[in-house]
């Protein structure tokens, strides 16, 4: 705030001095020039007070006429001069004020001030997001629907403007500034007490790198999550302790391999990391067999690495094998039928069109589909502007780096328990995963579920803590029942229970809760809201535990305790 005020004051100096000087000259003149009295005889000049009065209404062009009395000819001559001088100076001053209010530098300073004030006022944990391109926007929508606050920096003012038009529940402070400058990050709340983490999503590896460095130097304890486009940058970031580095190509390769090998795992991952409320993704089920990969750049290498590790037979087609370091692959761009036939497209089950040119990728896919209509087609999309073409083509999978990075970050940000859970399920077999998928599908009503965590503690779950303190055991199913009618189940599933260092996947409803337990749930939003009722309100909890409304007041509670001493009532309470 102070900066803009000082800026205005500084710029106003010249107009104000002109104004004061012109007033001084006018008033002085009026105080010198002899006037006339009512009979037209010469009279002494008017005093300073009257002179100030006359100049005030003249300079502001209000013009009352000749007040307080008729002017002499000399006074009229002076007033003519005064009119031209003071009116011009007034116009100049007003013009400078208006110009100042529209000055881009001032507007920028004012916006930065508003932004900084908004950030300073935040009283809930927030993520600092650098870069709100496609990835950032997706991520923000997901964070917003999970009620997590974000603060956004982007170098492009247009994207920041678009953000203000976007429909978000929370007020997301956004500023157009260069995130690679430490000062911008500090303005955006890097040193704020409630800053929960920094996410670098710009499309410039160097900018992401500098965000990571700044974060790790200024707030080493904050998690820094970064997107990287090349493995070198990723290695660089990891070398100084960046907590998570997501390389879109690697993640996609890994997921494609996961989808081919264990489609169930992949689907579960998709469901739990999408934006809540969106329609549920359908299973992909890419076939096992021989695959053709066109393009052996960064993307192709990542795909080849993961597919080969999954034990899938792969034929690589590459236009410049020497440059990309691809041995025993077929030379050609893959856009013409001959090369694809040479690669054995007629016996292949799938093709990955993964060059860095969108039109070539589409051409490869179209040719391949003509040669073998049953192919499973994976398309790499490089430019967002080509989206209509890719939508029209309807490949089985279209790889967009932005959505992949967003999903990956979301799985990391939602709760640390979720990424823990996703790590754990990799070890489980397909049958187990299919069982879980059908359970989730039954509960969530065909839209992406909410995922939330819960810690049993005096601070987070006051009612449960109180019940435990009184010695009442609280089983997990208390949290799974509807507080309105406890015979009804809430639409949610406990995914994981973490106690000290042990984790339990899909904990059984009879499990007794302990203080310090961390739980991960997924389910409908309604489930999350209604579950919360029982966590804080002792009466609701006691209804959930016993099926009876507990006495609320102090007297009734002590009477209840007194009754409890008799064995019959303690049996009734089930304790």
């Amino acid at each position: 705030m102070h900066n803009t005020l000082f800026m205005i004051l500084r710029r106003m100096r010249a107009p104000l001095i002109f104004l004061i000087v012109s007033y001084a000259i006018s008033i002085l003149g009026m105080a010198q020039i002899p006037g006339i009295d009512a009979e037209g005889k010469a009279a002494p000049p008017m005093g300073f007070f009257h002179a100030f009065y006359v100049v005030s209404y003249t300079a502001t062009t209000i013009g009352f006429g000749e007040l307080p009395g008729t002017f002499s000819e000399a006074q009229r001559a002076w007033i003519t001069f005064v009119i031209y001088m003071t009116v011009i100076v007034w116009l100049y001053s007003i013009g400078s004020i208006l110009a100042l209010l529209q000055d881009p530098a001032l507007l920028r300073a004012a916006r930065a001030n508003r932004f900084a004030a908004k950030v300073k006022r935040l009283r809930q944990p927030f993520y600092l997001i650098a870069g709100c391109g496609e990835t950032g926007t997706l991520l923000m929508h997901a964070l917003d629907s999970r009620n997590q606050q974000a603060v956004v920096l982007d170098i492009d003012p247009e994207r920041v403007g678009a953000l203000e038009l976007g429909e978000y529940h929370l007020d997301i402070p956004a500023l157009s500034a260069d995130a690679s400058l430490p000062e911008s990050l500090l303005t955006a709340g890097l040193s704020h007490y409630y800053c929960a983490g920094v996410i670098a999503l710009t499309n410039d590896d160097r900018a992401n790198l500098s965000v990571a460095v700044t974060t790790k130097l200024l707030r080493p304890e904050l998690p820094a999550l970064c997107r990287a486009d090349s493995l070198e940058t990723a290695a660089n970031m990891a070398s100084f302790g960046t907590d998570e580095v997501v390389v879109a190509f690697e993640v996609f390769g890994e997921h494609l391999a996961m989808a081919v090998n264990t489609p169930g795992h992949h689907l579960l991952y998709e469901w739990l990391t999408s934006v809540p409320g969106d329609p549920l993704a359908l299973p992909l089920e890419p076939p096992r067999g021989k695959w053709v990969l066109c393009g052996f750049g960064r993307f192709g290498k990542a795909i080849a690495h993961h597919l080969k590790r999954a034990g899938i037979e792969l034929v690589v087609v590459e236009a410049t094998p020497e440059k990309t370091g691809c041995d025993n692959c077929i030379e050609g761009s893959g856009t013409e039928a001959r090369t694809l036939m040479e690669a054995g497209i007629d016996q292949a089950v799938g093709i990955v069109a993964g060059t860095d040119d969108d039109i070539n990728n589409l051409s490869i896919a179209m040719t391949a589909r003509e040669l073998n209509p049953d192919l499973f087609i994976v398309l790499r999309q490089n430019r967002h502007a080509n989206a209509p073409l890719f939508e029209r083509f309807q490949a089985n999978v279209t790889m967009q780096p932005s959505s992949i990075v967003a999903h990956e970050f979301l799985s990391l940000l939602t709760t640390p328990l979720l990424s823990h859970f996703l790590d754990e399920i990799r070890a489980r077999d397909d049958e187990w995963v299919d069982m879980l998928l059908s359970r989730i599908a039954a509960v969530v009503d065909n839209s992406v579920p909410e995922v939330w965590d819960l810690e049993i503690s005096g601070f987070h779950t006051e009612a449960i803590w109180e019940a435990m303190r009184d010695g009442t055991p609280v089983p997990l199913h208390t949290l799974l029942r509807n507080p309105v009618d406890r015979t009804e189940d809430l639409p949610c599933i406990p995914l994981l229970l973490r106690r000290d260092d042990t984790t339990m996947l899909l904990p059984r409803p009879e499990t007794l809760l302990q203080l310090g337990d961390q739980l991960l749930f997924c389910g409908q939003r309604r489930g999350l809201n209604q579950q919360a009722l029982g966590l804080y309100n002792f009466n609701v909890l006691s209804y959930l535990l016993t099926g009876m409304d507990a006495p609320g007041g102090l007297i009734w509670r002590s009477l209840e305790k007194w009754f409890k001493r008799s064995p019959a009532s303690s049996e009734r309470l089930g304790s």
């Binding site: 000082f6 800026m7 004051l9 500084r10 710029r11 106003m12 100096r13 104000l16 001095i17 004061i20 000087v21 007033y23 001084a24 008033i27 002085l28 105080a31 005093g47 300073f48 007070f49 009257h50």
Partner: protein
Amino acid sequence: MNLEKVVFGFFIILAMTLNFGFVLGDLDNPAHHHVYELFFAIIVNLIATVLKFGERTQIGAIHLASSLVADLGLLAAAWVWVMAVHIEGTGLTPDVTASIVSLSAGALAANILSVIMLLVETVMFRR
């Protein structure tokens, strides 16, 4: 030599001298205190105030504050004069003159403070 500093110093010292000239004389004798001097003291003080706008330093802030105080004192003196001469019509009696002069003497104190700060600043930055 910096022209900005010259103008700045000029107005601050001029404000003080004009103010001093107006205050000089018997406290309650209107003949010793001319209204023109008061007028010029007010104008020069206002200009000095505007010149101090936009200073971000601590000493700049005190400069501005002392100037505002001087303006306030002088404008109050002018208002007493307007009240006595034009509105109530009592004229410049000794007690009205005394209050006008003592108000501008208060402004003089603030102006002297300004000049002292100007000197301090100059001494601080000339090595």
